[in-house]
């Protein structure tokens, strides 16, 4: 076994032990290269988003010398050329729609109308193809037309190309630097699938009052698909969790009654469905989930990694600790406004409070954006090693 392979094995074991709520040799640290990298590399965000090779080579240059365990990915979440090929209305990307150094923006709309519910529920995948794709893509406005057919060919090709390029990059990072990817597969709470992309935030909240039974039926119809999306295909790697950014379940979006009846049951069913196949979820609880910790504790032991953003960390530890791995501990703003010294101090305290008996992964609370300072991000990793040995 090469040195890097051994390093990989060690980190993998650390990660897996923590996920299983155990105590590894040291606290595993998660790290991602965010948009902040642009300002240190003399590249525009547009270049980073558009040129996958460039963004991957920036990551490759960054990795040597950094000692962390779990890699959360490079600076761009999406590859805009695929969206351009389809004429996607969903986002404005740096350099096209917004300035070359602005982060992307989501264009939230009711891409699904209230009257579409029945058809969607009857056959979700077919509805997406027949109505949703044409609604969100200017190139598909006339299904069957020359432009539309070409766009689909390009879009699907881009999807495959990106998948290939990224798999290759991860393979290389594993070989060269011994890092472990955080997860495989991407899914959502069924209510968020409905509320984010299909009905939009306002649409879904109004639906809760005007057509609650449709919301429930749609969430139910989405659930098996979201289990599938999380698994990322048959025979996929179940050692690693699927990523699930959770939105409308945060306090104070839904009242307790709505949360209990509309948000939670289908999310729980999704998690249980995944867990039945041995797949965990990285429960990326954006914002504050403190009021719901008791409900979350009803999940099967170890079936999630709970991400702490602005949820009360001590309460999360108290209620979920021991049964579920916790991830987080570093407030996102600290990475911008803090100093390396402040960060070290914070991490020492966090590790004392949250990591003591294992089952903990150190990470930034939320999404780290362009404002973070590199010296702070690096101080975070260093401090984790300094104070994180069990």
């Amino acid at each position: 076994m090469s040195e890097k392979q051994m390093l990989y094995q060690k980190r993998l074991e650390r990660y897996i032990t923590a996920m299983d709520c155990g105590k590894p040799d040291m606290v595993p640290v998660a790290f991602g290269v965010g948009e902040w990298i642009a300002k240190y590399t003399g590249t525009t965000l547009q270049e980073i988003y558009y040129d996958l090779d460039k963004s991957n080579s920036i990551v490759s240059e960054m990795l040597p010398g950094l000692d962390f365990d779990i890699f959360k990915g490079g600076p761009s979440l999406w590859w805009p050329p695929m969206f351009d090929a389809m004429g996607s209305k969903l986002y404005k990307f740096p350099g096209i729609g917004v300035e070359e150094n602005s982060t992307f923006q989501f264009n939230e709309q009711e891409y699904m109308k209230p009257e579409d519910y029945d058809e969607f529920i009857a056959s979700p995948t077919e509805w997406l193809v027949n109505h949703y794709l044409p609604n969100i893509s200017t190139e598909l406005e006339n299904p069957g037309s020359y432009r539309s057919t070409v766009a689909l060919i390009k879009g699907a090709a881009a999807f495959a190309m990106q998948g290939g390029i990224m798999a290759q990059a991860y393979g290389k990072w594993t070989m060269d630097h011994g890092i472990v990817g955080q997860g495989t597969g991407f899914t959502k709470a069924p209510f968020d699938t409905l509320g984010d992309a299909l009905r939009g935030m306002k649409g879904v909240l109004l639906d809760l009052r005007r057509r609650p039974e449709k919301v429930l039926a749609a969430c139910e119809a989405i659930t098996p698909h979201n289990v599938n999306c999380g698994l990322a295909g048959a025979g996929a790697d179940t050692r690693f969790p699927c990523f699930a950014p959770l939105h409308r379940g945060a306090y104070p979006f839904l009242n307790p009654n709505q949360w209990n009846n509309f948000y939670w049951p289908s999310l729980k069913a999704t998690i249980e469905g995944l867990w039945a196949r041995g797949k965990r979820m990285l429960f990326y609880a954006e914002g504050d989930w403190t009021p719901y910790l008791d409900k979350i504790a009803e999940l099967p032991d170890k079936s999630i990694i709970f991400q702490i953003d602005t949820t009360d960390a001590k309460k999360a530890k108290e209620i979920l600790g021991g049964r579920f791995c916790l991830q987080g501990g570093v407030p996102t703003t600290l990475l911008t406004y803090g100093t390396p010294a402040k960060i070290k101090e914070h991490i020492k305290r966090t590790i004392d409070e949250l990591a003591c008996d294992g089952g903990f992964i150190l990470d930034a609370g939320g999404v780290v954006m362009g404002d973070a300072k590199q010296e702070n991000v690096i101080a975070m990793i260093e401090a984790a090693r300094e104070y994180g040995v069990y």
Partner: protein
């Protein structure tokens, strides 16, 4: 359009079920399993592409 296409309501991971395709092919002189396996792989790819847009 003549009569509306019948809904397939495919399962997760499926766009056009192999069973539907098989029926259309009718006679099958070769090894079905080989064809089915590759059909389903590509079908799963298409499925992931479609749902990608809904899970943004």
């Amino acid at each position: 359009m003549a009569d509306k296409e019948k809904l397939l309501n495919p399962d997760p991971g499926v766009c056009v079920p192999w069973e539907v395709k098989l029926e259309e092919i009718g006679e099958f002189p070769g090894n079905e399993a080989i064809v089915k396996k590759e059909w389903e792989k590509l079908d799963d790819f298409a499925y992931n592409f479609i749902w990608f847009w809904a899970q943004r």
